[in-house]
Symmetry: D2
């Protein structure tokens, strides 16, 4: 069998998650690290025809300028990457850095159609230069504030017209990135809660182009736990009365989310899932706080108050203490492999079977992790 | 359809779990309490032909002498039962008290065969007196120390001979109770980690009598959580390095388990499941401490140390604060209904589909709660 | 020695804290409850000349209308009071109810001077009717939003003039209550974070009337812990980097504090102390959330991130789970006794020695609990 | 003033605590690290005449053979030391390594008197070689099991006779080390819970030699917290009902304490203090578990159940997550400085004022941290 060469194009390619994913890809490929955290390395996926770790080529867009190899050193200092790895992988990281192009920044003058064309050309050029069978575009850039739905967001023709207007900024950067990916004929996956591909005009485009897409907002901590704990309560017929949560985090993510507007997007996708899981609304105050000294660490505390037999009131508390980039990065690689395989198999539209990875799954209303895993495995085996 | 009248015969009928189960049965039947905590009341079981709450008659054995209605008052003082309920149900509880017979106490002189016959006659008489279609026997008595397997435990003929010897004490009380239940033609369910029906000679008897049985050790707290959290780690390919746990509890259970021998049984069933769930052994120190001032409350703290991508070390901690009797009691009622239905449907042998309820499921090596729930529902719908 | 009869006049006399304090006073007096939680019952105060539990007479103001004896029943249902106590004390509580007068409600038409006179007359009449040596006024009403300092707040003559204006609302209710107390010649203690007596014009009045006063914002949970933990870190030269906190609570307090304006006052007094204790500012995000199903319970989670030798980063987390009224009520009685003794001994102005009881102590900048206790004992022994 | 040169002789000089203390001494001296965690660097001690960081010379005994500079690398890999520090200090650490002599190992043939003489000569030679004014001996070696008091332990003459017997092993290694220190005319400080100097015959020797000594068992985590939290409860007249604790730790300490005999010593000193602090015995189950994957980290969980006003039952939980060596090491340096100053000032016998540092303070029954700190400062200022 001829190797199927796959491109992974990262929006936010110089960020923590991207740098960790890239470093990990090379480390696992070189046998410098175990495949811990890589879901598609589990035995359930042994017979699925996925791109091999050495068949993936990485490039991307970013508006930050710190090179990937420098970012890797920072992550090593912050405890996310083993110190020796940043050294061992320097050459490989530099090679990726050479494949990173300037991303789109909100407020750039001129019609957004031009910007989208430029972004799409970057991806196409990457695909041709490396003779890739396909390129999966994954958004791992900073979270944007939620975007109000405008009329031109709901119809592709209207959107196309609006994008040509040099005086309008029709799409937020994440959605422009999705648009460009689709223009370039690439599947798009949104690992963030940003608007991305969720606008009706963009899903219309994906359908027209016969492309699959997935998202959104990788679940890596508090929500991951909620999607196993909430089903535990419901299957035992225990009545959850309230579910309070607090997240403290540093790093770039902490700084981004200290902007209440940006945090709102995150909080909304988190809240949506909980009510769906429990089958009813509960008091669920939720906070995200920027605590810079935590660096790359994220700590979440949840307090669940529930009622059992004969009205007994009981509680569950948990504290999750994780390195967000280390939790997210392998999932980005998993998503690249699975989405590439779905594209190869001709899947089109929202890939609901990827719900396992997301807080706010597109194409699925299943939030229970165990069911999501079961669905994922079954789906992958049919590819 | 003629109502199918079902007996529930509780070993340890005057204990906390039994008293809560009995009180709850009457409270739900009378509309004095919502069916919170009753799994078989969930919509998934709506079409399953289970005995109705008003078709269940309760009796049992115990060696304690505090009457059920008095025990209910104590539980109300301890916060397990709402104060008004103990009052409202006094007559009903007295009626159950009239159906409780003296249990078997270790060290009773004479052949154990005679004791077993007496116990079986108590159950048979109960069945006939109330014109019951069947009686399900459920053990909710205090946890016994583990019992060493003797040769006569492995063969029914040998066991029968040994039981006739007036100078030998062949079976621990929980196993004598199981033996008596089978003699009386009744399904047996063990909600405790005691030896009960697990001896080969007894399962041989169950098979011979064409009876179903289930167990063991109801999962109501720490283990319940472990059976959703461990699959979360494994499905995400996260490598659990250690899983430490501490349980503090008061009440009768706390006093029983302050005996290291009795605690050993509990700790063994807890430990077994964890390794099975994770697929490998981990450092998993586990303690159960008697803290009398906690009364009926049980608090568990677990600390999970795990490894993610590129060797990142992270932790999850949880604290569970529950009323053990309130968590266990509805499951006892669920098990009575489901086992009665299984018996009616001609099921024989270990009911592996009941694994959802147990720490150490008989007839199943599935420990993942979500899968257990799925299996349970599928099985029940086929009854 | 002739018994010194002391009045305790509670602003918010029908609230949870007041009702618990009143119930507890009678319960301890009648020997129905141990003096747990009463600081002035500790051996350190054995030789201090404080009013006896049977020498205290209670009355107060409130704008709520649920009678104290009814409120006690509600608190018993919520687990704050033992159920039998509400019954046993009904007569005594009704007698207190007869001493409660209508409080001042913001927005009442007419000059505030008239309202203040009416409030003061209520207190004077209470003192005379019961032949009391003195009356201590303690504010335990709902927390108000912070109040902007106006020019007339800083000078007593200006304030007096402004209060006479029928078209102006110069003082928030807590400050009007303080003003009325001083008019009636009574010491004033603020157990809440409301403005109360802290306006310069009011402290000027207290000084002129030769009256002592104390406050503010009783420390009963999270802050209590912080005032022992922060000194631990500093005395060990450990460098606290951040101190994040979340409070979830139900009850009336939860509802009040779900108003961000009211919560602001609480958050401000909490934050002020932490920086003082640590000697420097730290990232200290803090939340108060209303979770109605928690009823009278309050749960606080704090996460402290600190640095030790050679830059080692470590953490302390705690969860406090308390009944706020049960924690606050005995302190109200302690404050009544101590303030009465201070008044008897001729103490004037801010009673800094009461800092032990408060989040934001008036007349003291000592926040360390152990030092506060030491100071309190030394001060009381000199009375 | 001529510099007073002070020796610090560490028993267990190649262990984690010693290596961290030595590394930190050099790092602080060289300005490579801030003095975080060093109590004697706080302003309260600014006017106390303590040996400067550049006036301290280090040597010691050990039975382990991994050189200090190698141990420092291991600690850097385990996150206790910053990676660059192990490199920067390599020469300095090698110089200390050259001052380490073989320690005494239990079971060594021959009279213990000879071994003690050899140990004392090592210290004397170190003092003379470096022209030191004095040498403080600090035990930071692995915890020993508790030692049964024998008749010869209670009288110095009897002990001296027994030590001369080649066939008897009269003293455990920690006590032999203390004996040797006193023979060499040196103050002795025990940072461990081992028997050390606590035998009456040894304190008799210290008194005869006019030497001060201090100990024992450095308080660095769970107990540190308990000594601020327990006084909080008592000063608020709250009634602690139970105080359960669990410690999980890896590293050498974890392995040592997985031996129940060794753990017993630790558990005993921990338990003793709690009852003293609370003024009464409480249910206080306590565990120490070896969890090797935690490496140098120690995590403690405590659950405090307490009673407040009118019998309200409430809880406090905390989780402490610390690097034990980083917490202990600066205290070792503080103790060296303070004990040297006490010796210079002619202090003799148990230094009760050092109680601030210890779980089981010799010469003091004060366990409250705040009072201990106050006492320490007052004492130091009088030196």
């Amino acid at each position: 069998m001829t190797p199927v060469r796959t491109g992974l194009w990262l929006i936010g390619a110089r960020g923590s998650v991207a740098t960790t994913a890239i470093s990990g890809l090379f480390a696992v490929r070189a046998g410098l690290a175990a495949p811990t955290g890589l879901v598609t390395h589990r035995p359930e996926f042994a017979d699925v025809d996925l791109p091999g770790w050495d068949e993936i080529v990485v490039g991307g867009h970013d508006i930050a300028t710190t090179p990937v190899e420098k970012r890797a050193e920072q992550l090593a200092a912050g405890g996310v990457l083993p110190p020796h790895l940043a050294d061992a992988l320097r050459q490989a990281l530099r090679a990726v850095e050479a494949e990173i192009r300037e991303g789109y920044r909100a407020g750039t003058p001129g019609p957004q159609a031009d910007a989208a064309r430029r972004l799409a050309d970057d991806i196409t050029s990457f695909r041709e230069r490396h003779e890739l069978d396909r390129v999966v575009v994954v958004n791992v850039s900073s979270t944007e504030p939620p975007c109000a739905l405008a009329p031109e967001h709901t119809d592709l023709a209207d959107l196309t017209a609006a994008l040509a207007d040099p005086d309008r900024e029709v799409l937020p950067p994440s959605s422009l990135a999705a648009y460009a990916a689709l223009l370039a004929g690439c599947p798009f996956v949104d690992f963030t809660p940003s608007t991305g591909i969720t606008l009706p005009a963009l899903t219309e485009l994906a359908d027209r182009e016969q492309l699959p897409y997935g998202g959104r907002d990788g679940k890596t901590g508090e929500t991951l736990l909620r999607t196993v704990l909430a089903p535990m309560f419901t299957s035992r017929a225990l009545n959850v009365l309230s579910w309070a949560g607090t997240n403290i985090l540093g790093g770039g993510d902490g700084a981004t989310l200290s902007d209440p507007d940006a945090a709102r997007g995150k909080l909304e996708t988190k809240g949506r899932g909980l009510a769906a899981l429990l089958g009813h609304e509960v008091a669920a105050p939720l906070h995200i706080d920027n605590v810079p000294d935590l660096g790359e660490w994220k700590t979440a505390w949840d307090h669940v108050h529930f009622e059992g037999f004969l009205g007994a009131r009981m509680t569950l508390q948990f504290t999750w203490h994780g390195l967000d980039s280390a939790l997210a990065a392998p999932l980005v690689l998993d998503l690249a492999r699975l989405t590439a395989a779905a594209h190869a198999a001709g899947r089109v539209g929202a890939l609901g079977a990827l719900a396992f990875f997301f807080k706010d799954p597109l194409g699925s209303d299943e939030h229970r992790l165990a069911e999501q895993f079961r669905d994922l495995v079954a789906w992958a085996r049919e590819l």
